[in-house]
Amino acid sequence: MLALVYFIILGVIAVGAALCVLLSRHPLYGALSLVVSMVSLAGIYGLLGSPFLGVVQIMVYAGAIMMLVTFVIMVLNGAKDKRTPMFDGVSFFIIPAVIVLAAMVGFALTRAPFAFDSATVVGSVKVTSETLFNMASTGPGYFLLFEIIGVLLLSAMVAAIFLAKRHLGSVITDNTEEKH
């Protein structure tokens, strides 16, 4: 019961913040609303028994990525799209379409029988990292994936440096930060 209450509170905050993203005029406001939304999502993760994921969410998303976003927005000061309208014809075309799509999927979801398993384990750091770094040959082998993700991040960083290197050296240093 209590969980439901927390969920409703966090969910409303998340959806509200998401709507703020949609409706805010300046990207900086949008970014801040996004942070709020992400933090409340992290709360839901914790509520669902995945505290590790919640922490990562806050650190990486709300921390690093959003930091990057705000930095870029502030560096590119001309980014305020005063000239361009917030919404145009396309927007009014897309909103009903997406709503219809979501409604359909939701309708399908309500028909699908699924429920929480009572015997779930809490995704604590220990459990998660044990599964993640299970190097046994019979294990799931996520460690390989993990390494590959590391390489991907590295190459993304290199690509970012390469793309943006001409003026904005400061952004590059930010990029390196968010790689944990």
Binding site: F7, I73, T84, F116, A164
Partner: protein, 104 residues
């Protein structure tokens, strides 16, 4: 009344829909990227929600996948913003509609 698995999915769906709407209907490139992030977040939430419906060992797996997806999102954001910077330098605009060089 208890917290149902369905609620999590509905919430994820709503946030995903908003994310898509943001990504497509807004013309500012920053909003486009933020919309994508939002949608990714919703997906992660959906993963976690579904993970909880599985028995013990498998539910851990369901929580590891979002980790990877977060990492990929980080990489995407990194490259995406670098591209925004580069494009902005060329066009002096963050309007997504001004980029139409690919049209034949």
């Amino acid at each position: 009344m208890e917290l149902q698995a369905l609620y999590i999915q509905i919430l994820a769906l709503v946030i995903f829909a908003i994310g898509i709407i943001v990504a497509i209907s807004r013309r500012n490139l920053f909003f486009v990227l933020m919309g994508v992030e939002l949608a990714l977040n919703a997906v992660n939430l959906s993963f976690v929600g579904f993970a909880k419906t599985l028995p013990a060992e498998m539910s851990v797996t369901g929580q590891i996948v979002p980790l990877f997806s977060i990492a990929v999102a980080a990489a995407e954001a990194c490259v995406g913003f670098a591209m925004v910077i580069m494009i902005f330098r060329n066009k002096e605009s963050v309007d997504a509609d001004s980029y139409s060089d690919m049209k034949g």
